[in-house]
Symmetry: C2
Subunit: 253 residues, 2 copies
């Protein structure tokens, strides 16, 4: 695409996509906060429905917004050293994990207090699967890429899987949030949801904004023009040594 007159997606557009993703991400967190704060009685940590409200807020903040930003760092910090960006990527994911654990505890606590069985819904199955895979992916990422335990061959083999599952888990996080929104609305406002009440419309808009955030992050990360430029000196010392020495072009996540 580069150098083509019709290319409308050169590197100069990257900042706009990044700004767009951040506006969407912040909007999602704020709308989740307002929805549960204004319409669902706010927040608490006492086993009540207000403790449950901590769950969606943590999941949108941690497993969507911070997770998405952790994925974006490889495109945003294009000229920093690979190692610095890797550390930032791992730290943002760690924050997402910790906030996600708080969110999970809030849901389980509320279910226990209200004598509601755990893990019976499709939302809980998809959400838990996403969280467990995310935790495994984070551990594997640390082991393969941040610490020098894995051979260059193993790293090169794992890299495309890490990238594929990274984007898949972002999609699964967004999807799990939408399932959770649908559950919450049907539990709380089933009789008025079809009358287009403000709470239902606001939560629907939240769902669409979550999809848009995922789409923009996915687009930025997969677009060829936005890839990190290979840095031969850095690459030669890092995971792609073998690939480089065989004359192939290294791919960066």
């Amino acid at each position: 695409m580069e150098g083509m007159p019709l290319s409308m997606g050169g590197l100069r557009t990257l900042p706009w996509y990044v700004v767009c993703s951040q506006v969407l991400g912040v909007a999602c967190v704020v709308i989740t906060g307002v929805w549960l704060g204004h319409y669902r009685g706010g927040y608490a940590w006492d086993g009540s429905a207000q403790e449950f409200n901590v769950h969606p807020l943590c999941m949108v903040l941690g497993l969507v917004f911070l997770y998405g930003d952790a994925v974006l760092v490889y495109r945003v910090f294009r000229n920093e050293t690979k190692r610095s960006v890797k550390i930032l990527h791992a730290l943002l994911h760690m924050m997402a994990l910790i906030i996600g654990i708080v969110g999970l505890v809030a849901a389980f606590d509320f279910h226990s207090s209200a004598k509601i069985p755990h893990m019976y819904s499709l939302h809980s199955w998809c959400g838990m699967l996403t969280f467990v895979l995310f935790f495994l992916q984070w551990l594997l990422g640390l082991g393969f890429f941040l610490f020098p335990w894995a051979s260059a061959q193993l790293r090169s083999w794992y890299l495309p899987l890490h990238v594929f599952f990274g984007l898949l888990l972002l999609a699964m996080s967004v999807g799990s949030c939408l399932l959770g929104i649908t559950e919450k609305l049907l539990f709380n406002i089933m009789s008025t949801y079809s009358k287009f009440v403000a709470e239902g419309v606001l939560a629907n808009i939240l769902g669409l904004l979550l999809v848009c955030f995922g789409v923009v992050v996915g687009y930025v990360v997969t677009k060829e023009d936005f890839r990190r430029p290979p840095n031969p000196e850095e690459e030669a010392l890092s995971v792609h040594f073998k690939t480089l020495s065989e004359g192939e072009i290294p791919s960066s996540p």
Copy 2:
């Protein structure tokens, strides 16, 4: 990755992934049919709840299974001419579209008969957005790639967008189905869903199988090793003329 001793995903594994995708896809259609046939009173076309049952069956068959298979043809028929595969891709998508329209009519018909407002839920918003984008993508695909209306430059510009939105719409189709499953279960078995009744567990399993189908199709389509080999004679006559003449490697969808 090619030629690496640790590569565990060479071209020889492609048939296994394709078989796996077809088993998952057929299982999804059969389980949807059994769920609605056995637990929800079967099928009809009279404005009743049985007419509504046509909706999920059509959406899973058309917008997930056939859509996924339409995406897969570029990997399955690797050695057929590009033009034949394009025609098959467009035909499968057209079948998906027609079956999707029948599914939409069933849902709207049922809502009208039962005096239920249309388009109020997050499922309906996401589902309709997916369907409209799918229809636009199909029209653009026809115009850009199958008929000789677009210049080679325009085609090269649109190709990566077509591929990105193709996979996005598969994810959105699967996500919309999961939202629909959650809605249907909460409308019909809210009081017993948390007791792990057979219908709820079956529908949850259907949800996970739909995700697995999407994941396998997405993996096959994005894996570098499974790409169509470039055919210089064919390429020179087709969309990538300009790219080839500039010495770049053409990418195929």
